[in-house]
């Protein structure tokens, strides 16, 4: 188990380096001079040169790349052009808020998807099943930037039971987490239901049923563990999308996380900070899918390396 975890973690490293390379290329090779974008075309050439030097853009590309990777390995992501503070620290300050939001959303998604998926699979074709399918269709069609404001109108303005925006106690987390988590809940509900329905024909389900256990018990206790593997894989992939989605959700709810920092960096043309934010989110994506693989190995012994079997 530990060997698999180590191997999978090791395999994730090249992906992170590739992602970092892409971010580097994005800022350095994309047509158009970042200095022009930052200062405007009418800036004095002295200022341009100064900024170019500050960003080390006057050095050869390969040298810049080596410097960038070296910095990355030591946790140095450069300094903000606006505040001159280290980018790594800026991102680290915002990370807890984003993680709080992302895990809140994950909790919302699981709390809706697992019971609803099990219930739908237990009674296929009934109104409950149709309701679950309808929910997953609607949830997948509702982008967060239209869902979020609608939730604010309903729960913060009309019913006045939850705060409009900002970060604070648990009540502040409810609307952003629902906004971010509902789309994922829709996908997971659908996946749980489909995966369980695939299991229903298996022998062990028939055995459990023959023992006299109820449908829901059989599904929740026996089939769910087996049906969970594709759900966990999707969960890992979707968690990365969830992290990217924080950019929008944090904007809607004035949530002080990495997503908000990304937009602030774009507006201030603070390229080092933008680069750091994108790297942080991309790394989160890679970590999530790696974790999903490891969890899958725990759930399903068949995916473990053969050397462990005796």
């Amino acid at each position: 188990m530990i060997r698999l975890a180590l191997r999978r973690t090791f395999l994730a490293l090249p992906t992170i380096v590739a992602a970092a390379t892409l971010v580097f290329l994005l800022v350095h090779v994309v047509p158009g001079d970042p200095v022009d974008v930052m200062l405007g075309e009418s800036a004095a050439s002295v200022d341009r040169e100064a900024l170019r030097h500050a960003l080390a853009l006057d050095r050869p590309l390969a040298a810049q790349y080596v410097r960038f990777l070296g910095g990355l390995a030591t946790g140095d992501l450069g300094r903000s052009l606006v505040s001159d503070r280290p980018v790594a620290r800026l991102v680290a300050e915002r990370l807890p808020a984003t993680l709080e939001l992302a895990f809140g959303a994950l909790a919302v998604a699981l709390a809706i998807a697992l019971p609803l998926g099990v219930a739908a699979a237990a009674r296929p074709g009934t109104w409950l099943d149709r309701g679950a399918v309808g929910f997953s269709l609607l949830g997948a069609a509702m982008p967060s930037f239209s869902l979020g404001p609608l939730l604010i109108i309903a729960f913060a303005i009309e019913l006045r039971i939850l705060p409009v925006s900002g970060r604070g106690d648990l009540a502040h987390l409810v609307l952003p987490a629902c906004t971010l988590g509902l789309g994922m809940a829709a996908i997971l509900t659908r996946m749980t239901r489909a995966s369980l329905l695939d299991c229903i024909g298996e022998d062990y389900v028939r055995t459990a049923r023959a023992k006299g256990l109820g449908r829901v018990t059989v599904l929740a206790r026996h089939a769910l563990a087996n049906a969970l593997a594709p759900v966990v894989t999707i969960l890992g992939l979707q968690f990365g999308a969830l992290l990217a989605g924080t950019v929008i959700t944090e904007t809607i709810f004035a949530w002080p996380g990495v997503g908000r920092l990304t937009i602030e960096a774009i507006q201030a043309r603070d390229y080092p900070v933008l680069q750091g934010c994108i790297l942080a989110i991309a790394a989160g994506f890679v970590i999530a899918s790696t974790l999903a693989d490891i969890v899958n190995a725990v759930l399903d012994p068949r995916t473990r390396p053969a050397s462990r079997t005796r």
Binding site: L26, G32, L137, M142
Partner: protein, 274 residues
């Protein structure tokens, strides 16, 4: 009636209607979508302005109709160009194999190692905020899904008898790819393109919502939602109208995609945008 035919027809009809309304926006709209009327800001629905007016007194119905044009153009243009580009790259990579295939697939892997939306945000941030750059960013990311699909299918079919037969008859590589392999790609590509259209429309709206897409005074559903955000308390219709427009469009596209997928028996495509 065949399986799912009703669903496909209903969704296709709704989409055709939406596209017609979007195309006819200049004639259907009660007013110029950019004409301001600062004496009537946030005015509620009236006879002259059936959905009311926005923060600058612009007609909301006109804006949501013209916003539909932006979505339509972005959706069609992104899907068409990524489909053509991706299919060509993927088919050639799968057919020729070797280092070219390896190179292309590594590139696809790296691009897919990012959540699509994040990459689109980064690209538009670097290229500069405009609708044209949104299109460019969406195509630069969007081709990967089609390339993967086309490559997989070409690899699967490459050794089949009908390909051997065509080759034995003296057909060139190009002819085999075009006349024998591409036709069998139509079904999965069609399904992927339908979901891709929904994805592109949501992505454009997301980027415009963040201020990285359509610039004022262009009406886009994303910018309209962003404009309405500050006035949720006093003018919720500014948010509800474009929100519902996006939802209906995406729902119809998803319905169509699922109907086609069941009907044509295609595996679920990779969803790049969520």
């Amino acid at each position: 009636m065949k399986r799912g035919a009703g669903r496909i027809r209903a969704a296709a009809a709704l989409l055709a209607a939406l596209a017609c309304v979007a195309l006819a926006a200049p004639w259907l709209a009660p007013d110029d979508p950019a004409r301001q009327d600062l004496g009537a800001t946030l005015a509620p629905p009236s006879h002259a302005h059936p959905l009311g007016q926005d923060t600058l007194g612009r007609d909301l119905l006109a804006r949501v109709l013209h916003g539909g044009r932006v979505s339509l153009v972005v959706g069609v243009a992104t899907v068409t160009s990524s489909l053509l580009l991706g299919t060509a790259i993927g088919a050639v990579a799968g057919w020729s194999g070797g280092w070219l295939d390896e190179l292309v697939m590594r590139l696809v892997d790296v691009l897919l190692a990012f959540p699509g939306l994040l990459l689109a945000i980064a690209l538009t941030a670097v290229l500069g905020a405009s609708l044209r750059n949104v299109l460019l960013a969406l195509c630069l990311i969007g081709w990967t899904g089609y390339a993967r699909l086309a490559r997989g299918e070409v690899l699967r079919l490459r050794g089949r008898e009908f390909v051997e037969a065509a080759r034995a008859l003296g057909a060139s590589d190009r002819r085999i790819l075009w006349r024998h392999l591409l036709p069998s790609l139509t079904a999965p590509l069609l399904v992927q393109a339908t979901f891709g259209m929904a994805g592109a429309i949501v992505a454009e709206a997301s980027l415009s919502f963040l201020g990285l897409g359509a610039q004022p005074p262009t009406a886009s559903w994303g910018t309209m939602l962003n404009d309405g955000r500050a006035f949720l308390l006093i003018a919720p219709h500014l948010t509800i109208v474009p929100g519902v427009a996006i939802m209906v469009t995406v729902l119809a596209l998803n319905f169509l995609g699922e109907g086609l997928r069941d009907r044509l028996d295609v595996r679920p495509p990779t969803d790049l945008w969520r």
